[in-house]
């Protein structure tokens, strides 16, 4: 390698280094400016909200003043990132406050920029923007756009319809269950949990009228959702719906029913009914779970357990035997055991 090649090599390495330094410097400056800008927007927004909620009679805050101030800190149509940041602040603030100020904020949001940015997102071709738009509208409680959102409850994209369905719950509360029988697409477990949690947070007082109407749904996800709602609200009077689904033909519906019934203690007559349903469950694991529930929530019913012990279901006989053994019926288990083997094999007697 001669001298010029080495010099050339050094020059190349050095220039790459310089490019790195410059890009680091640019990125650092950009980030510093950006953080400063966002902080300024946050402080300005905090100032506006506080002055709007607690207005000083001597120095009232006008809408033109708000619009001007926001524009001065960079809330302009072309600065999409700034607008998005402001929307995030608006949602955060709305979530922090309840009572009369919540409604004041809701009114403020309809009057200040970014006007209608969220609702414009709904008509976007991109599912991500659509879902985000719907979410922003329900988080800011802008119920005037209900009709636009309502159209998306059966959207083919899972995220768009998920947000639209949650928006229905936020705006209508228990009444939104009215639409449950008419939903066409599947609802995932996560979506069911989100709906139950949202409903519980915003509408803690149950309105059984709507629940009863939703009972006529034959969609599997609908049945599961209703059972989860009954469980979350601890609606003891509605446990019949869960019990009726314990022997449902679908595996997951049965699974949810068993999971939900575990929250409740039921009357002895209902427990008798559950014991009758026990034989109809085609899956041994689920029978085992239900057996566990029956054992923990009722007195020892010797007839029931003996029937199971001498029945045809071999999978759970060991569990049944254990229950009997531990609850004072040791000799019954021994009797059953000896009956299975002729004396000669056992080498006894």
């Amino acid at each position: 390698m001669d001298e010029t090649t080495i010099l050339y090599f050094i020059a190349v390495v050095f220039s790459i280094l310089v490019i790195y330094w410059i890009s680091i410097a640019v990125s650092l400056t950009y980030r510093r400016n950006r953080t400063a800008r966002l902080e300024k927007i946050e402080i300005t927004f905090a100032d506006i909200v506080s002055r709007y909620l607690y207005e000083d009679p001597k120095k009232p805050l006008t809408l033109t003043e708000i619009t001007r101030t926001l524009r001065n800190v960079g809330i302009k149509e072309k600065n999409k990132n700034n607008i998005q940041f402001l929307i995030r602040l608006m949602i955060r603030t709305q979530r922090t406050i309840v009572g009369s100020n919540f409604y004041k904020l809701q009114r403020l949001y309809t009057q200040i920029p970014p006007y209608g940015v969220s609702v414009k997102k709904i008509s976007s071709w991109n599912w991500y923007r659509q879902a985000r738009g719907i979410r922003e509208l329900y988080e800011m409680n802008q119920s005037q756009y209900f009709d636009e959102i309502f159209k998306y409850r059966n959207d083919k994209n899972i995220y768009v319809r998920r947000e639209a369905q949650i928006a229905l719950v936020v705006f209508l509360g228990w009444e939104s269950l009215r639409f449950l029988p008419y939903l066409k697409r599947n609802m995932t477990l996560w979506q069911q949990i989100k709906i139950v949690e949202k409903l519980y947070d915003l509408y803690p007082k149950p309105e059984l009228k709507w629940l009863h109407r939703a009972y006529k749904t034959d969609r599997l996800f609908g049945i599961k959702l209703l059972m989860r709602i009954i469980r979350k609200y601890e609606l003891h009077a509605e446990t019949g719906y869960i019990v009726d689904n314990l022997n449902h033909e679908d595996y997951e519906v049965r699974e949810t029913a068993i999971y939900c019934i575990k929250t409740f203690a039921v009357s002895s007559s209902t427990m008798e009914y559950i014991k009758n349903l026990y034989d109809d469950i085609p899956d041994a694991t689920q029978q085992g779970q239900l057996l566990d529930y029956i054992y923990q929530n009722s007195e020892i019913d010797l007839d029931f357990y003996m029937r199971q012990l001498y029945g045809t279901n071999d999978d759970l006989k060991l569990s049944i035997a254990e229950i009997l053994w531990n609850n004072g019926y040791k000799e019954k288990v021994q009797e059953f055991y000896y009956e299975q083997y002729p004396n000669s094999v056992l080498n006894v007697g």
Partner: protein, 117 residues
């Protein structure tokens, strides 16, 4: 004039509480962390301290204990994002706490307490 100290990291809640307090004819000092305290604050006997409990580098209960130890005050209100049952129980077990409000908060309740003072 009656004095209130507000300590909140979240600038929006801080500003809102500051306005609420000022409009009710209190003198208000609003800061975002304990670092911003000065000697004067330590000598002032505040009528109310309205504070969060979630700050970097310090456990919630320890923070409350510190406030009670270093600042003179008559009433201590806690307004925080941390509304978990465990925290609530622990805070209620402490002595001399006038009120505990977890988000979402109803500002009217806080205003009522201040006005009743």
């Amino acid at each position: 004039m009656r004095k209130v100290l507000v300590i909140q990291e979240d600038i929006i809640i801080l500003k809102i509480l500051e306005r609420l307090v000022k409009l009710n004819n209190f003198e208000c000092r609003a800061i975002r962390s304990l670092d911003a305290l000065n000697i004067e604050d330590q000598q002032t006997n505040y009528d109310f301290i309205i504070t969060d409990i979630l700050f970097e580098g310090i456990a919630p209960l320890e923070f409350v204990a510190q406030i009670q130890e270093i600042l003179l005050h008559k009433n201590l209100l806690i307004v925080t994002n941390m509304g978990q049952d465990k925290i609530k129980q622990e805070i209620f077990a402490l002595r001399d706490i006038t009120g505990f409000y977890a988000v979402p908060i109803d500002l009217d309740e806080i205003e009522a307490i201040i006005q009743a003072y």
